[in-house]
């Protein structure tokens, strides 16, 4: 029997607030902590063969898959199955992971039915965490006391991705819906159904929407249907991107560009006009997570169904490959 880590799948990544660490979580319940300083600025004399392996590899107690990760100034927030946990950053970078600082249980009616916390979005101003879950709902929790503040109910299948901007929240689900929510009201005021548009839908892949992101005026989303740029107010698909993918799982805005990836050999950077600016080759069969940051340095970490995580410092080409095994 082979080591299951050879078939590792990384679903989520995040950076520590200090910028020194990259955190990645996989379907086996491992949290890998990579020391970015050592990887990006290696001291040649101290270089060991496993320098590109995790500095620490934590196995969560219940060994469930790690579906999502989010970062606040104080905590690493981990969304697993049926619960969201927060760890003190200091505890995360220690070699042995202690108990979480806090845990929020997501109530579910059926015992056998488990609820994945597929997507987390942290609102810094409000100090609230939004969780898009496997039970078709988006929950809002107050990080001060862990109370549930609101529940956004409207999707008919599990939620793949959520993203927010100011008072707006957007969610995308397996049911093929993209819903816009007003966070103050807790109500959906608009929705998109990309699979119903002939030039976007791809029925052989499915109607699910794997990823969605909000800009001031724009929405980008994709999944089974093609990746498309939508105008927020008119809800029109302004641009349908023609890229050779078998499903989109990652899409977000970055400096007049759209970064998108999924079941494809590359991670794409596209202009609003549909032009492919950069094609980044990736190790993963399917990309489930691409985390980009600009401070303290430019860094893009791409992970997915592979034990390898690709690191780009220029966003233009693959610099290094980390091994999550």
């Amino acid at each position: 029997m082979l080591d299951k880590m050879l078939y590792n799948t990384v679903l989520c990544q995040t950076y520590s607030p200090c910028g020194k660490y990259l955190i990645a979580g996989n379907i086996y319940g491992h949290i890998a902590v990579f020391d970015l300083d050592a990887i990006l600025h290696p001291v040649i004399e101290l270089l060991t063969p496993d320098y590109n392996k995790p500095k620490h590899l934590h196995l969560l107690e219940n060994k469930t898959q790690i579906c999502s990760l989010a970062t606040t100034d104080n905590f690493l927030i981990v969304g697993t199955v049926n619960e969201i946990s927060g760890w003190d950053w200091k505890a995360v970078v220690q070699s042995k992971l202690s108990k979480p600082a806090w845990t929020i249980k997501i109530s579910n009616q059926l015992k056998i039915d488990e609820t994945d916390v597929n997507s987390l979005w942290f609102n810094k101003e409000e100090n609230k965490i939004y969780a898009g879950c496997g039970d078709n709902k988006v929950y809002v929790y107050n990080l001060e006391d862990g109370r549930r503040l609101n529940t956004f109910d409207g999707h008919k299948d599990f939620i793949h991705s959520i993203h927010g901007r100011g008072k707006q929240l957007i969610s995308a689900g397996e049911d093929g819906l993209v819903m816009l929510w007003d966070t103050r009201m807790g109500k959906s005021h608009n929705k998109l159904e990309p699979h119903k548009k002939a030039n976007i839908s791809r029925p052989e892949i499915g109607k699910w929407i794997g990823s969605v992101a909000l800009d001031e005026d724009w929405i980008v989303c994709g999944g089974g249907p093609r990746l498309a740029l939508w105008h927020q107010r008119s809800l029109d698909a302004v641009m349908v991107f023609d890229i050779p993918d078998r499903g989109i799982h990652v899409s977000f805005f970055h400096e007049d560009c759209i970064v998108a990836g999924g079941a494809a050999k590359h991670l794409y950077q596209l202009s609003y006009s549909g032009e492919v600016k950069v094609e980044l080759p990736v190790s993963a069969t399917t990309v489930y997570s691409a985390e980009l940051r600009t401070s303290p340095n430019k860094l893009l970490a791409i992970a997915g169904s592979s034990p390898e995580i690709d690191i780009c410092t220029s966003f233009k080409y693959r610099d290094q490959v980390l091994h999550f095994r």
């Binding site: 029997m1 082979l2 080591d3 299951k4 050879l6 078939y7 799948t9 679903l11 379907i27 086996y28 469930t64 898959q65 579906c67 199955v81 056998i112 039915d113 488990e114 994945d116 597929n118 997507s119 496997g134 599990f158 793949h160 991705s161 397996e174 052989e204 499915g206 699910w208 794997g210 078998r246 499903g247 799982h249 079941a263 050999k265 069969t285 399917t286 489930y288 169904s305």
Partner: protein, 689 residues
């Protein structure tokens, strides 16, 4: 006046002499004259005679002067006077003569006296010398005596305390010996002598008793020798009985005799192997020896006689070879015709270096269904390693092409122990020995010819080359087969090979079934209705396997090599076709088979481009879905594969494949995982995690 004086004297002399003569009888005149002259010379003083002589000389001279003067006058008177004077002068001359004679006598007498005195002195001196020499000699004798070492000092004596304790009083006599060292020494010597005498007596007694015993032994031996023909007769007589009772006593005896001719490593193997054969019974393990016994006997004798020579002359031999080679090279430049003979020479050299011992050991391991593996162990005399060949025997013919390969190919002995494929000699000196013999090829090239030098085979024969590598490599020492190593390894090996054989037979059955499209149901598992079917199972070669894009990952990770047994399974369900390339390790079922999948449906998918296929591979190739880490059988994995492909197709939403399995969720999570895992609840519930 002088003249008168002298004449007077003369007279007196004459008187004296005449008187003497007259007085003594004239016996010997001459003697008497001599005596007289001598005494006269003695009595007269030499000084006075000298003065007298001078005076006479003066007188003569005066006379001559007077004569001369007278002659000058020439007168008669003068003539007379001359005559008178002439007479006077003559007398004076006579007196002179007498004086001269006296002086002569006196001189002689003096000389004689001197000689006499000299002689006396000489003899005295001689005496002195003799005495000195004698004294010296005596001194030497004295020192010699002082330095004399007595024999008794060399004798080791009993220590003083013991002497006083043990010796009887009449010898030790303490009252005397305590004070007198010499007596003490004598006493001790005496005690020593007495003791030694006693011991010598004891020794003689023992020698005689030993002779008696040896005579008894010789007698017994001769009796035994006489017994041998009788025993042979008895043996001959029992032969019919043996045949009647089907006892293998004679064969056993023959084998034991052959065993004594085996080289030490093979002998160890034979001894331990037959021990296990006795314990486990001939139905499981049999051990035999075959080969040319006479040849072996000859080799044995040859070896014992030249063994020592070889060790000494080894180096010089190889040098000689090198020189020969060089010369051959030189010759070759001039005569190209020698080429053919050189090839023949190389062939002969190769044969020589790869020479096998004429005897070999055969171990046959049998398992319950009758399948047997005959292992033939050869010992390469010059390379000092053991090589193995094998023959399989089956109770019934095997159907199926790939199934037969499983039991016949070399792979059955591969990886019995990790990393041991028998592809190169385990002896570090092999390359050197080959080079020294002038063979340039690597040992690997001879493996098909001679057999495979598995490490377990060396260890079964008690040869452990690792130990040499760990030692100082410069310090060459011959490898001594280790008894304990062989014992441990033979036991281990027999069980390992039995397990392997059983596993292979099991695998063969599985493969036979798979080739005919059957998949064995797995015990204690709820049967699931499978819609996909196995339509083809056949073995494939490395080129085809390695060219498929689906296997790139496993090859890159080094998990599958050309050593593996490779198969292709084709699973179909309606329009979907799944090609699974299966790599079986030699160590199956300890190492599970590895599957690489390619799905042909709506395009071609493999794990490198499609997560669903990758998820299925994860499920089959790792023990992610089960908690037990036990081995997975091929059938179990095939069942998993068929189930998974059903799930994949049924969750695709295509109308071609209506879902008929109970799934909690068709897809789950951001990775849209399909429920490949089965929960044992009711008819089987499929979940993702």
């Amino acid at each position: 006046m002088g003249k008168e004086d002298t004449s007077a004297k003369k007279r007196r002399k004459l008187n004296n002499s005449s008187s003497e003569i007259s007085k003594q009888p004239p016996v010997d005149v001459y003697k008497r004259v001599v005596e007289f002259e001598e005494s006269e010379a003695q009595s007269r003083s030499a000084e006075k005679d000298a003065i007298l002589f001078k005076k006479f000389c003066q007188d003569v001279r005066q006379l001559f002067a007077d004569i001369a003067e007278l002659k000058a006058k020439g007168t008669n008177e003068s003539k007379e006077k001359i005559n008178a004077k002439r007479v006077e002068a003559s007398l004076l001359l006579v007196a002179l003569k007498k004086l001269n004679r006296l002086e002569k006598v006196r001189t002689r007498a003096g000389r004689d006296a001197l000689n006499k005195e000299k002689q006396r002195v000489d003899s005295t001196h001689l005496l002195l010398q003799n005495l000195l020499y004698e004294a010296d000699h005596l001194n030497k004798e004295v020192t010699k005596c002082l330095q004399f070492k007595s024999k008794d000092e060399e004798i080791e004596l009993v220590p003083l305390e013991d002497f006083y304790k043990e010796a009887p009083k009449d010898i030790s006599r303490p009252e005397i010996t305590k004070n007198d060292e010499h007596q003490l020494q004598l006493a001790r010597l005496e005690w020593e002598l007495r003791q030694r005498r006693e011991l010598a007596g004891a020794c003689n007694e023992l020698v005689s008793s030993k002779e008696r015993v040896s005579a008894a032994i010789a007698a017994a031996r001769s009796r035994l020798v006489a017994l041998a023909p009788h025993l042979r007769d008895v043996l001959k007589a029992t032969k019919p009985l043996q045949e009647c009772l089907a006892l293998r006593l004679d064969e056993k005896r023959d084998e034991t005799r052959a065993a004594s001719l085996l080289p030490p490593p093979l002998f160890l193997l034979y001894a331990n192997g037959s021990a296990y054969s006795d314990v486990l019974g001939a139905a499981h393990v049999t051990v035999g020896i075959s080969g040319d016994e006479d040849e072996a006997r000859r080799l044995d004798q040859l070896n014992t006689s030249i063994e020592n020579d070889i060790l000494v002359s080894n180096d010089s031999d190889s040098d000689q070879d090198n020189i020969d080679d060089d010369q051959a090279e030189k010759k070759k430049r001039y005569h190209r015709t020698t080429k053919i003979s050189k090839e023949e020479k190389a062939e002969a050299k190769k044969k020589q270096v790869l020479q096998k011992h004429p005897l070999n050991v055969q171990i046959s391991v049998k398992i319950e269904d009758g399948t047997a593996l005959n292992l033939i162990f050869f010992y390469l005399v010059n390379l000092k390693i053991v090589v193995v060949k094998f023959i399989m025997s089956f109770p019934r013919p095997i159907t199926g092409v790939s199934a037969a390969d499983v039991l016949n190919s070399d792979s059955i002995l591969n990886e019995l122990y990790p990393g041991d494929n028998g592809n190169d000699s385990p002896h570090p000196a092999t390359t050197y020995l080959l080079n020294a013999a002038g063979v340039t090829d690597h040992f690997q090239n001879f493996i098909p010819e001679v057999g495979r030098p598995y490490i377990w085979a060396q260890r079964m024969c008690g040869l452990d080359f690792m130990a040499i590598i760990l030692d100082d490599p410069k310090q060459y020492k011959p490898i001594v087969p280790s008894q304990s190593l062989s014992v441990v390894t033979v036991e281990n090996f027999i069980f390992t090979i039995k397990k392997r054989l059983e596993a292979r037979v099991e695998l063969m059955k599985e493969l036979q079934d798979l080739e005919s499209g059957k998949i064995l149901p797995i015990k204690n598992n709820t049967p699931i209705r499978l819609s996909a079917t196995l339509t083809q199972w056949q073995s494939v070669g490395w080129p085809e396997y390695s060219q498929s894009p689906s296997t790139a990952f496993l090859i890159a990770e080094g998990l599958v090599t050309a050593e593996n047994m490779l198969y292709r399974a084709i699973v179909t369900r309606q329009s979907a076709k799944l090609v699974a390339l299966v790599a079986l390790s030699s160590d199956y079922p300890k190492k599970a088979p590895l599957f690489s999948l390619t799905l042909d449906w709506n395009g071609t998918h493999h794990a490198g481009v499609n997560d669903d296929v990758r998820d299925i591979e994860r499920l089959i190739n790792t023990n992610w879905d089960t908690n037990d880490s036990g081995p997975q059988t091929l059938s179990a994995q095939m069942t998993k594969l068929l189930t998974s492909i059903d799930i994949l197709l049924e969750t695709s939403g295509s109308v071609e494949f209506p879902p008929d399995k109970v799934m909690l969720k068709q897809v789950r999570g951001r990775n849209r995982m399909k429920p490949y895992k089965i929960l044992k609840q009711g008819p089987g519930l499929f979940v993702q995690y």
